[in-house]
């Protein structure tokens, strides 16, 4: 059950679920224009905590590239890729070094915060507009709130389906 092929297939299934979540999210009503929940990151968190190290970063990269193939590569796609990869890397690092001392919700909050911070940094570097610092506090706050939601949902899903997703239920 621990073969590389097995893990690859499970990562691919979570990636496809993330792509579907990413594509059905925009029609849903958003509380504030320009701010969205980022439901697809749920799959990265679930993958990280059920399949282990290196799965979140793979799920994020593959999902972002696939969604960009659907929607067309543009500035938004690169912002999404950069933010997603950095937040996944940080979540991976925290999971790798402090697995026993951290919970799903806190790691997900950290990921949401770093996701929005990276995107803001990329926009500032691209547009060279220091006035954009006005948006920073609200972006960070929305990232943390989205992280709370994603982390709570992910923790519930992992409690019910974690063994099913990782394949550990079938081993016994």
């Amino acid at each position: 059950m621990d073969s590389p092929t097995n893990k690859m297939v499970r990562i691919c299934i979570l990636t496809v679920l993330g792509v579907v979540l990413n594509l059905i999210e925009p029609p849903l009503p958003a509380p504030v224009p320009g701010i969205k929940l980022g439901l697809a990151n749920l799959m990265s968190v679930i993958g990280l905590y059920s399949l282990g190290t290196y799965s979140a970063i793979w799920i994020t990269i593959l999902r972002t590239i696939t969604v960009n193939l659907f929607l067309g590569f543009d500035l938004r796609g690169f912002l999404s890729l950069g933010g997603g990869v950095v937040s996944a890397l940080i979540m991976e690092a925290v999971y790798y070094f402090y697995k026993r001392e951290t919970g799903v919700v806190a790691v997900s909050m950290l990921g949401g915060l770093m996701h929005n911070f990276t995107q803001w940094l990329m926009v500032v570097i691209l547009l060279q507009q220091p006035y954009l610092v006005v948006y920073l506090p609200f972006l960070l706050l929305s990232g943390v709130l989205a992280g709370v939601f994603i982390g709570t949902t992910g923790a519930y899903t992992l409690r019910r389906l974690g063994g099913f997703i990782s394949g550990k239920d079938l081993q016994s």
Binding site: G34, V94, E101, A106, L110, L127, V144
Partner: protein, 128 residues
């Protein structure tokens, strides 16, 4: 809650507090000297047009690769007209409504347009 969560929460609170402090600090400076000279419309990091303020109540039409963008001016207040017919998939620039003082900006990422005030707060020198 586990032990390491506390450190993560502390880091998140630190980031949020520092960003809000920067925000309020810049706002306070912006409120101190109200000497706005003009409003600048930037396209691809180059000044597209510059309109002196204050202006009487009027509309300005900007033609470019995005189509026609209609700006409403009223004193120091500016907005992108909600009925503006330019290429706009997100409608964030229109939904923002009126802006009235620096460092407020209207940003249109799809068209790479930034509308901001010149004069007033000296945020440029501070952040550089």
């Amino acid at each position: 809650m586990k032990r390491g969560d506390l450190l993560i929460y502390l880091f998140i609170i630190f980031m949020l507090l520092s960003s809000f402090l920067i925000y309020f600090f810049l706002n306070r400076i912006g409120g101190a000297n109200q000497r706005i000279k003009s409003v600048v419309v930037e396209y691809k990091r180059q000044v597209f047009t510059e309109i002196p303020l204050p202006s009487e109540k009027r509309t300005v039409e900007l033609k470019g690769s995005w189509g026609v963008l209609i700006l409403n001016l009223d004193g120091y207040k500016i907005r992108v007209n909600p009925a503006s017919p330019h290429y706009c998939p997100d409608k964030i620039c229109m939904n923002q409504g009126w802006i009235s003082e620096p460092p407020q900006t209207i940003v249109c990422l799809p068209n790479r347009i930034i509308i901001y005030y010149r004069g007033g707060a000296q945020i440029d020198g501070l952040t550089h």
